[in-house]
Amino acid sequence: MKSIRRQLNRTLILAIALIECVGLAATYWFLRDALTEQIDALLDTKVEAIGTVVAAQADGTVQVDFTGKFLRGFDEDEATDFFEIWDASGKVIARSDTLGHGDLPRRVRASKHPRHWSLRLPNGQLGRAAGVAFSPRWAGQAKADEAGGGPAPLLQLVVATNREELDEMLHRLLGIVVGVGILILGATAIIVPYALRRGLVPLDALAQQTGQIDAGSLDARFATEQLPEELLPITQRLNDLLARLQASFERERRVSADLAHELRTPLAELRMLAESALKWPEARDGGTDRETLAITQQMERIVRHMLTLARTESGQIELHREPVDLATLAEIAWRPFAARAAEKSLLVTFDLKPVPLVTDSALWRGMVTNLFDNAVEYTPAGGRVCIRSLVTEKEAGLFSVSNQVEGLQPSEVISFFERFWRKEKARSGGNHLGLGLSLVRSFSHALGWEASAELSGDHTLLTIELKPRKDVANGPSTRC
């Protein structure tokens, strides 16, 4: 499994080690070059000094006025420096006593600036040399004049010095660099994991808290007060997610609890019928079977409505939009209720203006049917029902059902759209499950509309109104 901590550990240690190696190597090379340049500069000085003691004679010979005492290092006691001078033909003109029987390599160039290189000295030690081709001065003006006033013939001079001291210093430097490198690497291997561990403490705490959250503790929230700013957005999103999860779980629990509660009475009825039929088989008749069927149909209706509600509220319902006229739809939906309304002598008035929509006609039929069912059921005998559809001045559709009611209080209006709400809390009505208006609200929301209820006329007239939701940008996904 991938681990941020391990990955950061590995990457940081490798990166720091690489930077350290490059840095230390660069430092070493820089110091080595600086020391070598210093030796070369010293050699150049010696080349120049030796050049001053070389003088050309008019007869073509060269006079070298040099003794071991002239420059320190050329005497036989110390014997750290060497030089050798050749003429153009390669004949040795002069050489330091420190060379003994050995020779220096003749590697020069015709330039003011000497050429430098490392070499193995005649005494077997490592050394550094500077070689240059130069014209010596004339022994005097008369000599120069005798020679025709031109420059003296070129000579080749190589000066070498023992570099063991430099190499020893460079070795020490290399040792220090390697030692420091190892120390830094060791420290990095300790400090980086420690720093990461310290730095990731809030992340660990977050992970631990997250691990403790289960379906039973969705009310828990992550504290955001002392969190580093990098974790704040994550924590806030997690808290938002938890809130949504909690709401979702609570909704599911409520649905389950409501469903269980609503099914208890029909289940009890069914069980009583079945157990009575088993205990007293002689008492069983056709009525028992009809009762059993009616109970199962009621239970089926409860479950069907609850599932429809749950699907609609969770957005799982698929909308099939088509051109619909609300007025026509309402007229057709009313037909099954006409006989019941007539039985109760209800005075039904229709004020239906065409409301053309592109919407899901099945959901609209569901809403309208539920509103009609409630109106016919709860309007007292001889009462009035008014069904209205119109297009408002703002070109929005509107549909409403008003009916006379008895015994409703304004404080109860807020509960009309709740699941299983009934005027009477007793829940064994059978025909009315208390889900009709919940379905209306849920369907209207899915279509971009909203349902509202209003009690007017001294609490005797209930109006349920459907209109496009204001927060839906393009209206009710329809055109009125």
Binding site: H261, A268, E269, M272, L273, A426
Partner: protein, 230 residues
């Protein structure tokens, strides 16, 4: 035994009351809380089976009002509410027992039976009176070891007298506990039933068990009272 069933579901009313009647109880039925309270306050029941969620007046309110009036009739709450707080609230309101829907018929009958037994301070389902043994649970009576063939109402009468063994029981009490609201018993129905019961008993045993106390009613006892003619 006479029971009151207060339940708003017509189907449960019908099936529960039918089951109780077949078991031998006299049952009055009320469909809402107000009606239930009226029945409970105007009749003397051995036990009340009371739903909680009722129209007009909920079951707990009915129960509290009964207890406030000092009525101690045993009450079995019948409800769809199954949480512990709901049960606690029901019992704290004065209920004697609590049954959650859906319930088993036998369990409901057993609990009603237990409440009726407690109404008469008995812990045993079998009541022995001399040679007579009345098994209130099995709804069976034996006299000198031989089964007594009784109708449901005759058994209820015998059970009621047996539960109040040795006590004079007035005719009005018998009417109130054996016949329900719909039975509308004639004034001599109790005397006729007692007469039939005596005949059936005397066919199996020589011991006189049902005695008449003039001015009071009837006593079921195996000890013959010298001043009480049969």
């Amino acid at each position: 035994m006479r029971l009151l069933l207060v339940e708003d579901s017509p189907r449960l009313q019908k099936s529960v009351s039918a089951a109780l009647r077949r078991t031998g109880y006299s049952v009055d039925v009320a469909g809402d809380g107000e009606e239930g309270l009226w029945f409970a306050q105007t009749h003397d029941y051995d036990a009340i089976v009371l739903d909680i969620m009722l129209p007009k007046l909920d079951g707990l309110t009915v129960l509290r009002r009964l207890r406030e009036k000092g009525q101690s009739t045993h009450v079995l709450l019948l409800t769809a509410k199954d949480t512990v707080p709901d049960r606690v609230l029901g019992l704290e309101s004065g209920a004697d027992d609590y049954l959650v829907k859906p319930f088993a018929l036998e369990e409901m009958l057993a609990r009603v039976q237990a409440l009726c037994r407690r109404a008469y301070g008995k812990k045993n389902d079998v009541i022995a009176v001399g040679p007579l043994t009345v098994d209130t649970r099995a709804r069976r009576a034996l006299c000198d070891g031989r089964p007594l063939e009784l109708t449901t109402r005759e058994f209820s009468l015998l059970e009621y007298l047996a539960r109040r063994r040795g006590e004079p029981v007035a005719r009005a009490e018998i009417e109130a506990h054996i016949y329900d609201e719909n039975a509308d018993p004639m004034s001599n129905v109790v005397d006729s039933a007692v007469c039939i019961l005596r005949k059936k008993l005397s066919a199996l045993t020589a011991t006189a068990l049902i005695h008449t106390r003039r001015g009071f009613g009837y006593v079921l006892d195996d000890a013959v009272a010298p001043d009480s003619p049969r």
